[in-house]
Symmetry: D2
Subunit: 351 residues, 4 copies
Amino acid sequence: MANNKKIKIGIVGGTGYTGVELLRLLSVHPNATLTAITSRGEAGMPVADMFPSLRGYVDLAFTDPATANLGDCDVVFFATPHGVAMRQAEALLEAKVKVIDLAADFRLQDTAVFEKWYKMPHSCPAVLREAVYGIPELYREQIKSAQVIGNPGCYPTTVLLGLAPLLEQGLIDFSAPIVADSKSGVSGAGRKAEVATLFAEASDNMKAYGVSGHRHHPEIHAQLVQLAGNDVQFIFVPHLIPMIRGMLSTLYVKLSNNAKSADLQQLYEQRYQHERFVDVLPAGVLPETRSVRGSNQIRIALHQHAGTDYLTLVVVQDNLVKGAAGQAVQNMNIMFGLPETAGLEVVPLLP
Amino acid sequence: MANNKKIKIGIVGGTGYTGVELLRLLSVHPNATLTAITSRGEAGMPVADMFPSLRGYVDLAFTDPATANLGDCDVVFFATPHGVAMRQAEALLEAKVKVIDLAADFRLQDTAVFEKWYKMPHSCPAVLREAVYGIPELYREQIKSAQVIGNPGCYPTTVLLGLAPLLEQGLIDFSAPIVADSKSGVSGAGRKAEVATLFAEASDNMKAYGVSGHRHHPEIHAQLVQLAGNDVQFIFVPHLIPMIRGMLSTLYVKLSNNAKSADLQQLYEQRYQHERFVDVLPAGVLPETRSVRGSNQIRIALHQHAGTDYLTLVVVQDNLVKGAAGQAVQNMNIMFGLPETAGLEVVPLLP
Amino acid sequence: MANNKKIKIGIVGGTGYTGVELLRLLSVHPNATLTAITSRGEAGMPVADMFPSLRGYVDLAFTDPATANLGDCDVVFFATPHGVAMRQAEALLEAKVKVIDLAADFRLQDTAVFEKWYKMPHSCPAVLREAVYGIPELYREQIKSAQVIGNPGCYPTTVLLGLAPLLEQGLIDFSAPIVADSKSGVSGAGRKAEVATLFAEASDNMKAYGVSGHRHHPEIHAQLVQLAGNDVQFIFVPHLIPMIRGMLSTLYVKLSNNAKSADLQQLYEQRYQHERFVDVLPAGVLPETRSVRGSNQIRIALHQHAGTDYLTLVVVQDNLVKGAAGQAVQNMNIMFGLPETAGLEVVPLLP
Amino acid sequence: MANNKKIKIGIVGGTGYTGVELLRLLSVHPNATLTAITSRGEAGMPVADMFPSLRGYVDLAFTDPATANLGDCDVVFFATPHGVAMRQAEALLEAKVKVIDLAADFRLQDTAVFEKWYKMPHSCPAVLREAVYGIPELYREQIKSAQVIGNPGCYPTTVLLGLAPLLEQGLIDFSAPIVADSKSGVSGAGRKAEVATLFAEASDNMKAYGVSGHRHHPEIHAQLVQLAGNDVQFIFVPHLIPMIRGMLSTLYVKLSNNAKSADLQQLYEQRYQHERFVDVLPAGVLPETRSVRGSNQIRIALHQHAGTDYLTLVVVQDNLVKGAAGQAVQNMNIMFGLPETAGLEVVPLLP
């Protein structure tokens, strides 16, 4: 019976925020056994010494990537900087180990675009071609049989799930650009020692950044084109917000003429009615980021501006869960035939 | 089998922070069925409309306390202001319903002290006499057979679990006062509309408060006397810290002569070795509040000051969990013969 | 000599955030003498008892509005709820006292619009007609001789100063709506006891609000129409951000054909080169809110999106200073022939 | 006339928080002219490019320490890591330049203690011997004629000004240790790229640290001994609080017998009645850190615990102002015969 199945898990790069978040979710996942957690810098240190929140839940120590026997795992998650997974994926696949990369190595099918934005050549285009972009609500069938998942960026998840119902039904007028004004908590910048994300710099403060070019722009753009079936103008302005977790994207789209007679609220509710992790809010209700804190939920609200052809969508998620580790676990569940919600029935932490 | 048992739960006063925290924990508790959640002011409103974090987890609406059939419950939690539980406890007990009060009605056995600090007469001293003070690590046996629990205040839990091993072994020199310098996140003040706890007042700011008299002083004092077997001078200074959840108490005690030859680190580790929710940190490690965020864990560190007879203890908990709703659920588990950790295996949320 | 002039100041409603901010600025203003500060609820209480930050700077006590002799002042600031200033303005003007209202009573020339959004009749349309909308960089000449100032809302100041150079030069294509995605710190909600702005609700959290209608929408719209000389579609989505002070508006506009050959960076730098409080950042630099914390500065950055006809503007201010009290003092300086920067040479507080 | 005097200022190491804070205060100081600001790493960069809050106030660029002509200055502030000032002080003094070191080089007269805690030999003990410990309220006379100031640490300023009146009058019973439970905002850790002070680590979180030994312990201890005239047991537990600025020390002392008949409130008020920057709060009032945000003020409250011989003091300051740069400017004012408050009449920023 599926519920007794135990998946052997490897995590490469367990010292960052997506790493510890995978550990939070997988250490109590009913079908997961943590087998190896690697870190070049911290080999030998008990994981719970670095993250005391895991005391009593994770007994493993970090192992050196060179000696970790990842080939024994059923699946390996890469919670590493960009460029690591693509160097190791081929060997793991040969050993029948599935790969879920939380970095960007398997997100962009166009290697020229990858190389432009990530400043490195793509070292395994063959693996990339069979990789699936891991948003279950869009690509569930392909994920079921995938060996390699390019787990999406945090911003792209909000924009794409926010727009998919319109794109699928051809309800956007592409003569105007789609605008995504996105806001992220500071954990999105990772657990790297940098002045710009110090408490004394980022607290009681906010800013726009990456206006002239953010790596999630080409990722979102490629998926928008895919879903729209034609080219799309896309303006993306991310902002840094003084909160630990949480992401909110405000999306502005021009509706096509055939959208005007549509009941868009109903369209969204129907599109996502069987999706456990996508919650379309009742008309008139707006989401706040804490309503998903610590959970894999994404919540969407719609508002049509009187006197205009424009629709505003407000989408929230926890950037470390649905925007990273939670979605990765959701993908794993699907790949291994487990209940999609296994290990993800976490009630958001409010307040 | 215990694990299939389903306890019918009533919650009186579900609109505050301890209420929503009970709902977070009990909505996914394997042995709990939420039966009624009352609110005088919000009767009829779906609970998840007030707390969108509970969408998909709690389908109930608030019911009016006057019409809620709490007599059908197995246990009723009072997440109400002080003075409510004592008016309803007697009738519930007659209906064979157990009572867990998260307010102060059943914490202080001395009704004169209660009346002095809470400015109201105690209306059911008979029930009070059989009530058990609900810290399982101190009073587990009594809790097993208790019908009424006075669930402890948040500050007292940190101070008492921090000092119990010393008190039980007679290792404190009472010629000096015990000093508790305690720090609490703002959620400890509750979900009441007040200027002093507005974001723009409490953020990027801290203060001491209640120096001349805080209601947890007599509660802690009474328990210290109980555990010490003699009178105790106790100085308590609480502080308000700009964080949502989290409590840290720094305790300063003078050691008695017989403590000087004792291995206090070992004493603490042994005292709590079978306590799932009390974590004695290794010597030299200090806890931070986020290491318990959202969990029922309490963590304790010891430090002996060279050249003095003084010991410092640093104790952290999540004020809404081990300091309130989590401890209440732990008490419920014990009262109903469930595994003590049922519904409480929540990994702390870090970052 | 102007620099020795002392203006007698009255403040009606000194207990809110704009009130204490006026006191912070005016208590050390070289040309101001605080004469009366009224509060119905707090009459008799020394102002510095309520706001200890003012100990040593403000010796006055709150006086009852009924007994305060405001007619002796040279100028009275209203830091009150909407609807108060319009009841008292006429009498003050007759007593030759100038009026600066920080609420909305004198911002909207169309009383029907005022009444729709503020749910009260306008009681002195005659005074309203001579009132000047107090953005010095747009209406300095009128302010010089004004007796009554409608001090602008915080959001409008960012949007209007952000767009004025384009509007004045006819560089916007009005076939697309102007979109203002604005973000405000929590102090913008005022010092009112409300659950939604409690620390434990608003911290580590963000949300959009007022999407279906915010009172600053008609205010901004009226000014945009005024500056554009024709009707304008305007979409406004405000967001609440977990910071005390600070406001950032991200503005998306479609450029007209004649804008394409223009050097917009240069246009902005020239338009504001003599404006001490408007800082156009160098091309490629984006502002953060803390760079203006506590100061009357507003900073603007421009970014043109390659491959589109769209321009993004990012505008920051301190919502309580340039967005409220600072701009009010700037208006006062102009009205009384003082140096426009008097009392406003405050270096932003960073970090 | 003193008020027209212009002091030529050099700042070595202007890229940290004490550096930018000196610039905030000195750029608008009526008697200061910024002459040189050095930074090894950032030579050539305009200061206002690094700190946009200074745009319009500071036109200088960072210069390389090797080429900066500091010998032309009247005074040089060292806002550098420990160990820099002592290498340069001698040459500056020979050039008749006064030195104010904000690091620890000139705080500890006992070089053995310095070397133990700072892990480096002291390279100029002769200069150290003539250095004055820069708390004006304790050592004003010596500061007047000092050539070198060891500007105190942030924690020491709160503890020493909090205890001085008792120590001076011999009102402490030294049979019990003095306990300082201190809390600091995160800016106290400086502007260094470190994981532990990232926003996502330090926000919504708190901890004790340095319990087994903090560098301010010997500094405070040496001064306590100096003021007491005998040895003192001193327990010091610092805590990290999720706020940018602000420091609060809660001090617990045992009173001597002769203290029992004294009016301690009156003693404190008299001791500090002529001190512009020390504010003794009325009996029963407790301070909050934001009441001094951005200002050089320190506020002190006293509370005597009924039934004990213990007194609690609560002391707040802005760690970057009275705890660092503001006190340094106060020392400069005294050294140059300026009004002690020159450039320091900054109203705290609240909210």
